[in-house]
């Protein structure tokens, strides 16, 4: 028996057990399916409607990596968000209203859906990965009490070229045997089961470069510079649209890596890299600094609010408003810079430069310096600079000295990354892990220093603006907390540096070329 039932959305609190497709990947005819199932169940056509399915994920595919899917589904009768998981647990569904993308997870309806997504997405915005109109039909298979015991969802493309039709058997909790039975019936009609990862979007990083240690260093450097350039361009639209703070962050990291690579590769790259491109990328880095700094303060505010003992979190509201205002103004300058003729020229001519470099690998002395030789030289130089800088640090060293050492550590880290293809993988990983310990301590020291100085500067400006005394007192508390954090980091420095310079670490650096 077949009954039509209208007005009710499609299934949730269900575990999709198996998706099925037509043997020839073509359309699926619902008629024979209904008639086969009707021999065992009362088949109810619960809904048949057009659904706009907007698949969402963060730019770096955090949901996908965590085995989650998030869909914003819109029909004539309403909207909802659906969270699916790769493991067999029930799908989460919540009604939604007027959601616009991109947006952060906090726009999702409060409750389990938001809880499932927010922790994974973190500070990244949710963006549209795909947007498709599909025709969804939901069949409910009822028992003799008119209780639905299994659901079958038919998902069909509306336009040519879209994904093939797909039929999914949705098992209801406590009625598993009916799900299996329905699946058997459908497979008996010639449908084939879809493998779990079939058609699933893959998230692959750039292909790993394999180079011989004897290849010209410029080949290795060009490959790294191309990767960084691609990262910059990939993040540019999100940065310009201000989708989330991480586009700018990732863009800046790529710029910084480009600058370090140019510096590390001076001996193997043409002179134009030093004379033209180093200043150009410095300009680009400087252009992005003010907004990133303000992002860092804004992102840190919730944590800082937790530090307050005497003051109230609300006392920091004038600071928060000030940061937002300042950021809006700085962002205008940033966007102007990124839409300027200079930036457009930089992008275009940098690409041409890299192409030329790839076609005619050359060295400054007319000979090809091998990648291995440059790696040994750069790692050795960078390592010795860290050793020298660290040895000069005493309890009374000014903050600038620790900051300089932090920059040297970063250069060594970038060298380890850039020359990874010609360095033993295991040794390199261990060296990075040891360097990371030192970098963490120096990072904490420098961040607290920068935050303290910035808060002092902001306080001066807020006083001029007539901010209330409560805001000043609260900021004073924050500076006090940062002071003690910085003291702690300074005390930890000695141990971290001793750990980095212990004999086993030195042997390790020697193995990978840094100790020569």
């Amino acid at each position: 028996m077949v009954v039509a039932r209208g007005g009710y959305g499609f299934a949730t609190m269900i575990i999709p057990i198996r998706a099925l497709r037509a043997g020839d990947e073509g359309r699926i005819d619902i008629g024979p399916i209904v008639s086969a199932l009707s021999a065992h169940y009362m088949v109810v056509i619960a809904s048949r409607q057009l659904v706009r399915r907007v698949r969402l994920d963060t730019f770096d595919r955090r949901l996908r990596r965590a085995g989650l899917t998030l869909e914003h589904q819109r029909t004539a009768s309403g909207e909802r968000v659906v969270v699916g998981r790769s493991d067999p647990v029930p799908t989460l569904v919540a009604p939604a209203k007027d959601l616009q993308w991109p947006a952060h997870a906090d726009v999702l309806p409060a409750g389990p859906v938001r809880e499932a997504i927010a922790g994974v997405a973190g500070i990244r915005a949710l963006m549209v990965v795909s947007d498709e109109k599909r025709r969804m039909s939901l069949l409910e298979l009822d028992n003799k009490d008119a209780k639905t015991v299994v659901r079958v969802e038919l998902d069909e493309p509306v336009s040519a070229g879209a994904g093939p039709a797909c039929l999914t058997v949705l098992t209801l909790r406590g009625y598993d045997e009916h799900g299996r039975r329905a699946e058997r019936i459908l497979i008996g009609l010639g449908l084939r089961a879809v493998e779990a990862d079939e058609g699933r979007e893959t998230v692959a990083g750039p292909p790993k470069l394999r180079v011989d240690r004897a290849v010209p260093a410029s080949v290795l450097l060009t490959s790294a510079l191309r990767d960084f350039s691609a990262t910059m361009l990939t993040n540019l639209p999100g940065l310009l649209d201000d989708v989330d703070t991480e586009f700018l962050h990732d863009f800046r990291v790529a710029v910084r890596r480009t600058r370090s690579t140019l510096k590390l590769g001076r001996a193997a790259l043409p002179e134009v890299m030093r004379t033209r491109w180093e200043p150009e990328f410095k300009w680009l880095g400087d252009l992005t600094t003010p907004v990133r700094d303000l992002d860092v303060y804004e992102l840190a505010l919730p944590t800082m609010e937790g530090w307050l003992m005497a003051a109230d979190a609300a006392d920091l509201e004038p600071l928060s408003r000030f940061l937002r205002r300042r950021r809006t103004s700085e962002r205008r300058s940033l966007v102007r810079g990124l839409r300027s003729a200079r930036f457009r020229r930089l992008v275009m001519e940098w690409e041409e430069q890299l192409t030329r470099l790839a076609e005619t690998p050359e060295g400054t002395d007319g000979e090809h310096m091998s990648a291995a030789r440059l790696a040994d030289r750069s790692l050795s130089l960078a390592y010795r600079r860290v050793l020298r800088g660290g040895a000069d640090i005493s309890d009374d060293s000014p903050a600038e000295d620790l900051h300089r050492l932090r920059r040297r550590c970063k250069e060594l880290r970038y060298a380890l990354e850039v020359f990874a293809p010609v360095v033993d993988k295991g040794s390199r990983k261990r060296a990075v892990a040891q360097l990371k310990g030192l970098q963490d301590v120096l990072g904490r020291f420098q961040d607290t220093e920068v935050h303290r100085q910035a808060l002092r500067g902001f306080a001066g400006e807020l006083i001029v603006e007539g901010a209330p005394a409560e805001a000043m007192l609260a900021m004073g508390e924050l500076i006090g907390h940062l002071d003690s954090d910085q003291d702690r980091a300074r005390r930890e420095f000695e141990g971290a540096f001793a750990n980095f310079t212990r004999p086993s670490s030195q042997r390790l650096m020697h193995q990978i070329g840094g100790g020569r």
């Binding site: 989460l92 919540a94 009604p95 409750g111 389990p112 008119a146 209801l172 909790r173 009625y175």
Partner: protein, 247 residues
């Protein structure tokens, strides 16, 4: 996980209707909801068209011979599961009496599904028993439907004493009038009097009226908001849920 129990010593006061409708409304909001029909009469189970049977009966559940997850049934509604009633629940007092921590066992059983649900409703049988004591420990909020009549209020006094005398953490008690007929003077008088007479008890502002549409639930075997979304009864249950739901 927030646990609500619809409870009253008296029967026929609207416990099951309240549990079924509020559970549906909680699920409709996207909250993962479980309704445990503890009443061997199985009215809530019937409303969701589920067979009133738990493999191994209440004994298997209480003694943990059968995990609670294995007895769960999906309803026809988004986010709403049911732990069905079983006729053997009539002996649940005896089953509980044989366990360690006999007044806390139901709470312990619910703890095992705490990660799976945001809201749990316990539809309780009308009695004062060991099951009731368990409910006192397991529930965060006791929802007490009251028919606005003198005898109902007397029973309510018994109930509040029972809750006050129970050991350990006690649930919040939220009473509300159910099956109220404002055409009756007695009903009007009792509704107006209770906030004065029970100053220490929270009484919900929402009054669930006596409407035939609520009685039709048993015939249609579905929650009121599904088959009468614009009816006054639906609005009343929505208001009641808005008053008591977790923030």
């Amino acid at each position: 996980m927030k646990v609500f129990a619809t409870y009253n010593i008296k029967g026929g006061v609207g416990k099951t209707s309240t549990a079924v409708n509020l559970a549906y409304l909680a699920a409709r909001e996207g909250r993962r909801t479980l309704l445990w029909d503890l009443d061997p009469q199985a009215a809530a189970t019937y409303m969701f068209r589920v067979r009133p049977r738990v493999k191994g009966g209440g004994h298997a559940l209480v003694t943990r011979r059968r995990p609670i997850e294995a007895a769960l049934k999906a309803t026809d509604f988004d986010n709403l599961d049911l732990l069905p009633a079983d006729f053997s629940y009539r002996n649940m007092d005896l089953d509980l009496d044989d366990t360690k921590k006999r007044t806390r066992r139901l709470g312990q059983l619910l703890h095992s599904v705490a990660d799976d649900y945001d809201v749990v409703f316990l539809d309780c049988p009308p009695s004062i028993s060991l099951v009731s004591e368990n409910v006192m420990h397991a529930a965060d909020t006791l929802l007490v439907p009251l028919i606005p009549a003198t005898l109902s209020l007397r029973t309510f006094d018994q109930l509040t004493r029972f809750v006050a005398d129970s050991a350990g953490p006690r649930p919040d008690v939220v009473a509300f009038f159910s099956m109220a007929d404002r055409r009756k003077r007695l009903h009007r008088d009792v509704i107006e009097a209770i906030p004065r007479d029970h100053a220490h008890t929270r009484v919900a502002e929402t009054v669930i009226p006596a409407l035939s549409i609520i009685e039709q639930m048993a015939e249609r075997r579905t929650p009121v908001p599904v088959f009468a979304p614009n009816n006054r009864a639906t609005r009343c249950y929505e208001q009641l849920w808005a008053e008591v739901r977790p923030s």
